[in-house]
């Protein structure tokens, strides 16, 4: 997880820069069909980290998806097998909590997009009722050696986000893109409507 200025408080050293993590791209949007990275995913790094900041759907109660490409984003949807479990707490609606595997959000040799949040709140919910003004998603996704032409490509992801009915969710997701072709583009988008927020991509030496 990006530490930013907090590293000083956490570790007591200001300005220590090792240049191990190279910021390759930052995409910020107030409303776009997707946040897409179609360049910079190469054999230059064996790990790529995507950091999610204040990501949210423009339309309420929408899932946030991730999907990969092997042709630079000309087309998306590479065969993937994945897992998904989450923990949640509904603070108003039914006041339930749970830790459980979510079979409806995993993939089995599918070219469909991968959910990284389900039925998420839009950021512009008004106060009151089951709403959460300022709702958003934070987290990160690590993609291992996407340029490999030998192995499948593993990825792991963890997100914390606001469900549309006043709930805190964390989702623990992982899987592999089941191809020996290099993965060279990735896209994040909402199930319906536009997406807002910032996603940063780092290459890790």
């Amino acid at each position: 997880m990006p530490l930013g200025a907090n590293k000083v408080a956490l570790f007591g050293v200001a300005g220590a820069v090792t240049d191990t993590a190279i910021l390759l791209s930052t995409v910020t949007t107030a409303g776009a069909a997707s946040i897409e990275f179609t360049s910079g995913i190469t054999d230059a790094y064996k790990q790529y980290v995507f950091g999610f900041y204040k990501v949210a759907p423009i339309t309420n109660a929408q899932s946030i998806y991730m999907i990969t490409s092997t042709d630079g984003g000309s087309s998306y949807g590479v065969t993937t097998t994945s897992t998904y479990f989450n923990a949640y707490q509904h603070i108003i609606w039914d006041t339930t909590t749970e830790l459980a595997y979510r079979p409806s959000s995993d993939l089995a040799q599918s070219t469909s997009p991968q959910e990284i949040a389900v039925s998420m709140a839009m950021s512009t919910q008004t106060a009151g009722g089951n709403n959460t003004p300022g709702a958003n998603l934070a987290g990160e996704l690590i993609l291992y050696n996407p340029a490999s032409t030998t192995y499948v490509k593993h990825w792991v992801c963890r997100t914390s986000w606001n469900q549309h009915l006043a709930a805190a969710y964390q989702s623990i997701i992982a899987g592999y893109v089941n191809t020996t072709t290099a993965v060279n583009a990735i896209k994040f988008y909402a199930a319906s409507g536009n997406i807002t927020g910032t996603i940063k991509m780092w290459g890790i030496k």
Binding site: P2, L3, K7, F11, G12, V13, A16, V17, T18, D19, T20, A21, L23, K46, Q47, V49, G51, T81, S82, T83, Y84, F85, L99, A100, Y101, P103, D106, L107, A108, Q109, I142, Y144, N145, S148, T150, Y151, V152, H154, W155, V156, I172, I173, A174, G175, Y176, N178, T180, W202, I204, K205
Partner: protein
């Protein structure tokens, strides 16, 4: 994101183990393992450590492991505690995956964090997360954690498969600063 310093990179090809012997200068170490492909089908990546004044990789650990899994067939999925792969004051190598496939495209990847191994006061905690292409043809998201129950400093860490050799890239990072 610029706080981890890359200390070592080991590229193993048909190796029996990968060892790192410099574990000082940082409070937190991270080991990232990529494209871990066992020579023998269904073997697990595992690790052990050596403490100062001791001989061999056989320190006492108490650990936990759980896994999220989903078969390519779609027939099975779930979240389970791995009772066969934890340790209660054991001295065996601790598994970080369960069973990686050995086919040419199959592998595992993940990371292990080791906290303050140079301490001579406290036990040494660690946690790890790895995803595997399992030999039984499923995706497994494996979470392992525990503590090495010694107060002596840890001076070495060793990675190897539960049986047979491995191909892998393993990187060692230190979190700036100590």
């Amino acid at each position: 994101m610029s706080d981890w310093k890359l200390l070592n990179t080991s590229t193993a090809s048909g190796a029996s183990s990968v060892e790192f012997t410099s574990l000082t200068g940082y409070k937190i170490f991270k080991f990232v393992f990529i494209d871990v492909n066992p020579a023998t089908d269904g073997e697990a990546l595992q690790f052990q450590v050596n403490a100062s004044g001791q001989t061999g990789f056989n320190e006492t650990m108490t650990t936990t492991m759980f896994k999220s899994y989903h078969y390519e067939s779609g027939s099975y999925s779930g979240l389970v505690y791995e009772t066969d792969h934890d340790q209660a004051q054991g001295t065996a190598y601790q598994k970080l995956t369960t069973s990686i496939g050995s086919d040419s495209d199959e592998c595992g990847a993940g990371e292990l964090f080791l906290f303050n191994p140079a301490s001579t006061t406290y036990v040494k905690h660690f946690y790890a997360r790895a995803n595997q292409y399992a030999s039984a043809v499923y995706s497994g998201d494996v979470f392992t954690a525990g503590y090495i129950n010694v107060t002596a400093a840890i001076t070495g860490i060793d990675f190897k498969m539960s049986s047979g050799n491995l191909d892998a890239v393993i990187k060692q990072y230190g979190l700036v600063a100590t």
